[in-house]
């Protein structure tokens, strides 16, 4: 209490109120002293003089109060008085305050976290000039699925640049990974190559120095220039202005190690394209590439983002139509069947953010928590107002109008909201960190979600407004029942009015329904997650280490094909020499990268529908290394050509059914191989290995092509089978590799089971976040049940006492209260069941091996809910049992 007074005097001193008060006292004291002086002069004794002076002055406290009323600061004093009163009365009912503050804080925390993620990742426009006219071009499969690269190519850029009647400009951006630094300190860093118009198109101005000028982007220009990102400039160069002109060695696959000169620093807004990139370099299109052959191949090498800025009066549809026409013309010009898969692709402007649906799902979850929270606050306030009815009716009788009573309740509300907002902000901050942690795994190039005040403040205002509404509304309703106008003591004895009872019962039932439906939804997701985890990967995930060799670096180091082959052979031997390694093999693609997809055509059906597959070109002993078992046919043998393929059982089942897949022939483009080239031929069927991730168990069948270690030069994923710890083996791999070629680092190395887990991050995040949201909803609705029942019991003490007195047994009273809890819960659960039967269908595409009406999930959730609700009713029921019959008779 003492601290409370200290705080009060501190606040008062801010407004100069303390000084003003003592000033007033001094002033009046001096007045009396002057009068007393005069009286003494007139011959009175000092005591009599003072007494007389006081008499003449009149009621000192009254005039002091009147004087204070003249002060404008009076409003503040009233406010402080109200706040003090509210804080005291809230402190007295700790249960109520705690429940409201927790509810509100959780709602604010959950909603701001998810909303700010949704906003900054999906809804927020790009931080560029006039973002509404900037479009990105995607090349999407006509059937709606995305291809391995929905991105664009430089040939598209050259073609679309011609459309200057539609576009103000067009720029290409590509993520690159390069080796930066001198031999010893060399490290792989991410950068981006941009065409010269890029920064202009985005409306970006350099923070320091300048951007590229057109002649510097010409392929024949010998200068190698860099623009650093602002983050790198600030963090790695301490914002040193002398960074301009600095030379940084970068390994380029065409020309080897070269010094690049820093010419400028790009603003932070340009980091949205790739948050990990450290620099921008000019995108140079070699004139040698810009030939027919180059252009023909070019549409295939689609790894860049193509950005276009529409002219003001040009509509998106018109622009898209013209672009599609250009694409069609290209197809006709290069109608070579080799690239026939381009027939499937179509240019699009907008593509959904990959996290959009997950974030919307989460936002739905947090909004439901908010809904339950609102129900909860309303229930609690109705009870609170009911409890204070006695006090309020006395106030009313003493002449306090509606406004004064209203103001008191509002003040209580403000106190709670203030504390809840503070707590909610802390929760939102924590939630933001969790989101960013997941985000850095799910989508590493995305900028972390900033704690956005621009968004946080409106959300908090909305929450607070809602909370105020929720607490004022019950008061308003109860006021109309003229509850407070009676001081007949009814408030003390009678139970709550029928209306408020109906209100709270409705709220509790609603809460339970929503919470139950949410719990069902997240339980289904949780079951799915368990089912996914239970999927057999089909290979020895924990014993395989996967490592990538850097393709670019190899090409810059070794020009001749034979040199590349011998390098691969040396690496193969060196890896086998590592202690504890039981098998080594190579594969063309990174395993567990679900973004890769290919199409094949059956012989005899080569003009017809393509077979969607995943293609891995692997070395001879791949299946043995991975521990994938052969079901039919034979393994690869060293002498096999690249046209021998092994398919997995899913392929056989899906595309051949009962037919014989062994010996089947196919090719990867429409119309089959060129004359003289053989068909690919199936020599074996192996068991299914989920090399795209566990969730993709039924998605893409896998084709394994053969590429012996000594053949070809593009299989740069090394797979090692070992029972030793991954860290030690990777260390040995690096040592061995340095002995063979010091300039060639391992770009990625890690055990496959780690990668499997990583692929499940998104599902895990959504499952656990939704599970915790519905846990919150459950908790809140249980608080609701508990609050209503215990209030009921406290109001019905007299009735219960009488029942006890006329012979009701303990168990009878217990049952009566429990039955009440059970009936509310029962109605809520029934409504929730109906809701979940309807709404879970929207979850269906997130479910795995579980149907939306999985009976076990429903049953288990129902049971859990019932048990918890009964436990919550048991406490007030116990209290009812302990009512002393004498107590009610004495009243």
């Amino acid at each position: 209490m003492e601290t409370l007074y200290r705080i009060r005097s501190w606040i008062l001193s801010i407004f100069g109120l303390g000084r003003k008060n003592s000033d007033l006292s001094d002033e009046i004291e001096s007045h009396i002293a002057l009068q007393a002086d005069l009286n003494i002069e007139a011959g009175m004794s000092p005591q009599a003089a003072r007494r007389e002076a006081l008499k003449r002055f009149g009621n000192i406290e009254y005039f002091k109060e009147e004087s204070r009323d003249a002060w404008r600061i009076r409003v503040v004093m009233d406010l402080i008085r109200d706040v003090r009163y509210s804080a005291r009365s809230l402190w007295k009912s700790k249960g109520f305050s705690l429940a409201v503050v927790t509810t509100l804080a959780l709602c604010i925390g959950a909603n701001t976290t998810i909303l700010s993620a949704l906003y900054s990742l999906v809804l927020k426009p790009l931080p560029v000039e006039n973002p509404e006219r900037l479009v990105q071009l995607f090349n999407v499969r006509k059937d709606g699925t995305t291809e391995s690269s929905s991105a664009s190519s430089w040939t598209q850029y050259l073609d679309l640049r011609e459309l200057d009647d539609l576009f103000e400009g067009c720029a290409l951006r590509q993520d690159v990974t390069q080796i930066m630094g001198e031999a010893e300190s060399a490290r792989r860093v991410e950068g981006q190559k941009v065409t010269v118009e890029f920064f202009d198109l985005m409306g970006a101005r350099p923070v320091l120095g300048r951007f590229f000028s057109p002649h510097e982007a010409k392929p024949e220009d010998p200068s190698n220039l860099l623009v650093l990102t602002q983050s790198v400039w600030e963090n790695e160069y301490n914002s040193d202005p002398n960074v301009i002109g600095m030379r940084i060695p970068i390994h380029d696959y065409k020309d080897g190690r070269l010094p690049y000169t820093v010419i400028g620093v790009a603003p932070k807004s340009m980091e949205v394209f790739n948050f990990n990139a450290k620099y921008f370099a000019p995108f140079k299109i070699m004139s040698s590439e810009d030939t027919d052959a180059g252009r023909r191949y070019g549409r295939g090498a689609a790894v860049s983002d193509l950005w276009l800025r529409l002219k003001e009066e040009v509509s998106r549809d018109l622009a898209l139509e013209r672009i599609r026409a250009i694409e069609q013309r290209w197809l006709e010009e290069f109608s070579d069947k080799r690239y026939a898969w381009h027939n499937d692709r179509i240019a699009m402007f907008d593509q959904e953010h990959p996290l959009r649906n997950s974030l919307l799902l989460l936002e739905g979850g947090s909004l439901l928590v908010l809904l339950v929270g609102c129900f909860n606050i309303m229930t609690l306030t109705v009870n609170r107002v009911n409890q204070k009815r006695h006090e309020l009716s006395i106030r009313g009788a003493l002449g306090a109008g509606k406004f004064i009573v209203w103001r008191l309740l509002l003040m209580e509300c403000a106190c709670l909201v203030l504390v809840a907002t503070a707590l909610g902000s802390i929760l939102a901050w924590g939630g933001n960190r969790i989101i960013n942690k997941y985000l850095s795994i799910l989508n590493p190039t995305t900028m972390p979600v900033a704690f956005d005040w621009e968004l946080f403040i409106p959300v908090v205002i909305a929450m607070v407004g809602l909370a105020v509404l929720m607490s004022i509304l019950p008061f308003e309703i109860l006021w109309r029942t003229k509850l407070f106008q009676r001081v007949d003591g009814a408030a003390r004895v009678a139970s709550a009015g029928g209306l408020s009872r109906k209100l709270t019962n409705g709220m509790v039932v609603g809460q339970i329904a929503v919470a139950f439906a949410m719990l069902i939804g997240s339980a289904l997701l949780f079951r799915s997650f368990q089912k996914v985890l239970a999927v057999d990967p089909g290979f020895e995930a924990s014993q395989i280490i996967q490592a990538r060799l850097d393709w670019d670096t190899i090409h810059s180091l070794y020009k001749k094909r034979s040199d590349k082959r011998s390098l691969k052979r040396r690496i193969y031997i060196a890896m086998q020499e590592i202690a504890g390694v039981d098998g080594v093999s190579f594969a063309s693609n990174e395993l567990l990268n679900p973004k890769l997809g290919h199409t094949f055509f059956k012989r005899g059906d080569e003009e017809e529908k393509p077979l969607a597959v995943m293609w891995h070109s692997v070395s001879t002993e791949f299946l043995a290394t991975m521990d994938i078992s052969l079901l039919e046919g034979r393994h690869f043998q060293p002498g096999d050509s690249e046209y021998a393929i092994i398919v997995d059982e899913l392929f056989a089942r899906r595309y051949f059914g009962d037919g014989d897949v062994l010996g089947a022939e196919m090719y990867f483009r429409k119309g089959g191989p060129h004359p003289g080239e053989p068909w690919y031929r199936v020599i074996g069927v192996c068991s299914r290995a989920n090399l795209l991730g566990l969730e993709q168990r039924d998605e893409s069948p896998i084709l394994y092509g053969h590429q012996a270690v000594d053949e070809g030069g593009w299989s740069y994923t090394v797979l090692l089978r070992t029972s030793r710890s991954a860290g030690n083996v990777i260390h040995d791999m690096r040592t061995k590799l340095r002995e063979i070629e010091p300039g060639l680092p391992l770009s990625y190395a890690g055990p496959l089971d780690e990668k499997l887990d990583e692929l499940l991050t998104g599902r895990k995040a959504i499952t656990y976040l939704l599970l915790s949201f519905s846990g919150l909803a459950l908790l809140l609705s249980i608080i609701g049940v508990y609050a209503v029942l215990s209030y009921d019991v406290s109001q019905r003490r007299k009735e219960i006492g009488i029942r006890r007195a006329i012979g009701a047994g303990r168990s009878c009273v217990l049952k009566m209260i429990l039955r009440q809890g059970a009936s509310k819960t029962g109605i809520g659960l029934a409504l929730g069941l109906l809701a979940s039967l309807y709404f879970t269908r929207f979850l269906e595409n997130q479910l795995f091996d579980v149907t939306a009406v999985d009976p076990w999930t429903y049953l288990a959730t129902l049971l859990i809910f019932l048990l918890v609700a009964l436990a919550a009713s048991y406490i007030p029921a116990r209290r009812a049992v302990r009512v002393d019959p004498l107590e009610s008779l004495r009243l």
Binding site: I28, S30, N59
Partner: protein, 106 residues
Amino acid sequence: MKKVDFPQGTLELLILRVLSSGSNHGFGIAQRIHVLSKEVLKVEEGSLYPALHRMHERGWIKSEWGTTENSRRAKYYKLTRLGRTRLTAEKKSWETLATAISDVLS
């Protein structure tokens, strides 16, 4: 002599009048009103202060701590420019009112 209660609101006019002849403290103002009214008007001394504080909030007068002749600390009030114009206006409206009332009565 019989003491007369004076009409509501005129207290402020009297205070303004007293202060127009120089700054004074609360006790002094009460004395002056008593003397100037030839001891007819007698202010209940306490009621002076709410009026003074009201006038202070309105900016008609300003205050300052000072010392009296018999060396006691007291708060001195002084007219502001706004107070002076108020005085003229209030005086005028009072005179109009007084003439009107005496015209009616005579």
